[in-house]
């Protein structure tokens, strides 16, 4: 009960920081703008494709419907994953670095609140903002339902959003950890970005001809597990992978904060 209240207090404070400063607004603005732009491009591409197919159908007979999910929503989520890669450091870099610079870490460390509650609270605050960003972006997708004669399947949209959230949450957990390493926000931001990029590029090892080693490397990449979610499948293995990375990131953050107390 106390644990919950303490964590909630940290979440509330972090949200106050996010929304009291331009951070949250800039993140929301950039995210929704890019979401809209990618949505527009995917939509144009979809229209082009469906026109061509319709034309082909008239010329050669037959004809088929192409899937909105396949042509619009899938590429959209993949693009937004890239945006998450860039925006995640912005959300996490100040979490601990700023507390250390301001000396407020001393307030937290001398209050009856555990390090785990602090770490979890900060991570949840960042994920909460990120979830809000995803929801704001999904408004674009929701528009399809009000206009399309044959609306897309909703399940892949929901699972895709969930996948996007989990992928970003991995970044946020790792970013929380990186933020504990320095008192300089900029350094934390740059290091986080490099780390996220590394986590991202591991996925590039994935190709059909890859050997077992490369397959293992690819497994560790964050993008490898997104595909299933975007296709509308909640693969427990992929979900477990994301949750493990998140847990690992929070564990590292916890250990880092604890160990600095000893080394200080």
């Amino acid at each position: 009960m106390t644990a919950l209240r303490n964590t909630a207090a940290i979440v509330g404070k972090e949200w106050r920081h996010y929304f009291g400063s331009p951070i949250a607004w800039v993140a929301l603005f950039v995210w929704t703008m890019l979401f809209g732009i990618f949505y527009y491009f995917s939509f144009s591409f979809f229209l082009e494709q469906s026109m061509r197919i319709a034309q082909q159908g008239m010329e050669y007979g037959g004809g088929m419907k192409i899937s909105l999910n396949e042509y619009l929503i899938r590429p959209l989520f993949h693009n937004m994953a890239v945006v998450a890669l860039f925006l995640a450091p912005m959300l996490t870099m100040r979490l601990f670095a700023e507390e250390k610079r301001q000396g407020t870490i001393e307030l937290l460390a001398t209050s009856p609140i555990s390090v785990f509650q602090i770490v979890l609270g900060k991570f949840l605050a960042a994920s909460g903002l990120y979830a809000l960003m995803i929801l704001a972006g999904l408004v674009n997708v929701a528009l399809i339902w009000s206009y399309a004669t044959s609306p897309p399947e909703w399940k892949p949209v929901a699972t895709g959003a969930l996948g996007l959230f989990l992928l970003g949450a991995c970044f946020l957990a790792m970013g929380t950890f990186v933020s504990t390493l320095t008192r300089n926000q900029i350094v934390a931001g740059i290091l986080s970005f490099c780390l996220f990029l590394g986590m991202w590029t591991l996925g590039w090892a994935d190709d059909p001809t890859a050997g077992p080693v490369m397959k293992a490397v690819a497994y560790l990449g964050v993008t490898t597990h997104l595909e299933d979610f975007v296709k509308g499948v909640v693969d427990l293995k992929a979900a477990a992978f994301y949750l493990s990375v998140i847990t690992f990131g929070l564990f590292l953050a916890h250990q880092s904060v604890e160990s600095q107390r000893w080394r200080a």
């Binding site: 909630a8 509330g12 404070k13 009291g20 407020t104 307030l107 001398t110 009856p112 609140i113």
Partner: protein
């Protein structure tokens, strides 16, 4: 209330605190005196569970700082040297957050915050952002944060540093008001502050306790060794000779000041006030006495007196 037993803290090879022991009784105000780098802040950080000790034990309100940190943290209010404030929160928001993480029950939170606001007189800036507050208000908000959960023990690290004289007086009054109901440890490097607020003083230097006494005893011990500064117009050498002839004078140094005025620093025997005799001696020799002043003891002098035997030889001019 606080028992510190041969507490030691090492950072790598450097020893910040070297086997300190002292006790503080309930309701007492203990002054922690020492120069920068003496280990005051480190000791306070150990008492507030911010740092773990390398050796030794410290118990606060019956709880060990190492074994029961959560119990200690609940009973201690701590104001670090720089108040731990979030500049982008308003005073009310900040105190509300502090109340939450300090475990003040939800139904009491409002009254506790209101009490702390009233005690520390920050009511008129409640809705202001902390970033916009002056140094004095920040210090008070920091103090409000420390007393918010009504802790048994208050640990204040240089609570008056950087304040203007009026604010210093107000802060001292505030601390005196808190004594009795709270046990207070405060650190400072200003001696008068200690005598005004503290019931007992622990002087530490280089991580060790060099003296422990009531401020009255301490100042009595130190006052005798204080210097008197004379400003004399006239011949420097003969004035110096006149001063040295006064009974009770141990050492006198002269140096030339501005406008042909000689400045003579005099050290007298312990417990002896020689000001009247000095004035008389100078004037009767035909010099004009333009200034006579009892110099305050600087911390450096106190340390010289406490830590070195040949204090008279090396006492610097204040």
């Amino acid at each position: 209330m606080i028992e510190v037993e041969s507490l030691t803290k090492r950072y790598g090879r450097a020893t910040a605190v070297d086997g300190i022991s002292f006790r503080v009784e309930k309701g007492e105000v203990l002054g922690f005196l020492g120069p920068n780098g003496a280990g005051k802040t480190t000791t306070m950080r150990i008492l507030t569970c911010y740092l773990p000790p390398t050796e030794g034990t410290a118990r606060v309100a019956g709880c060990d700082v190492f074994a029961q940190p959560m119990d200690v943290k609940r009973r201690v209010g701590y104001l670090p040297e720089t108040p731990p404030l979030y500049p982008d929160l308003s005073v009310a928001e900040y105190l509300d957050f502090c109340a939450k993480i300090k475990g003040v029950p939800a139904r009491e939170r409002k009254t506790r915050v209101a009490e702390a606001v009233e005690k520390c007189r920050v009511g008129d800036v409640r809705t202001k952002l902390i970033a916009k507050l002056s140094k004095g208000y920040r210090q008070r908000v920091g103090l409000a944060q420390a007393i918010l959960h009504n802790p048994d023990v208050l640990i204040l690290d240089e609570p008056t540093a950087g304040l203007d004289p009026k604010q210093i007086i107000e802060t001292r009054e505030l601390i005196r008001g808190l004594a009795g109901s709270h046990t207070v440890i405060l650190s400072t490097h200003i001696l008068p502050e200690v005598s005004m607020t503290c019931g007992r003083v622990v002087i530490i230097n280089k991580g060790r306790v060099v003296a422990e006494d009531t401020p009255d005893n301490l100042t009595r011990r130190l006052k005798g060794a204080g210097t008197t500064r004379l400003e004399v117009r006239g011949d420097e050498a003969s004035a110096l000779a006149a001063v040295r002839a006064v009974p009770g004078v141990l050492v006198a140094h002269a140096r030339a000041g501005h406008d042909g005025i000689a400045v003579i620093d005099v050290e007298a025997e312990a417990g002896r006030d020689v000001r009247a005799e000095l004035a008389w001696a100078v004037v009767t020799k035909g010099h004009s006495l333009v200034g006579l002043q009892q110099m305050g003891m600087s911390l450096e002098e106190i340390f010289l007196h406490l830590t070195t035997a040949d204090a008279e030889e090396s006492a610097p001019a204040a």
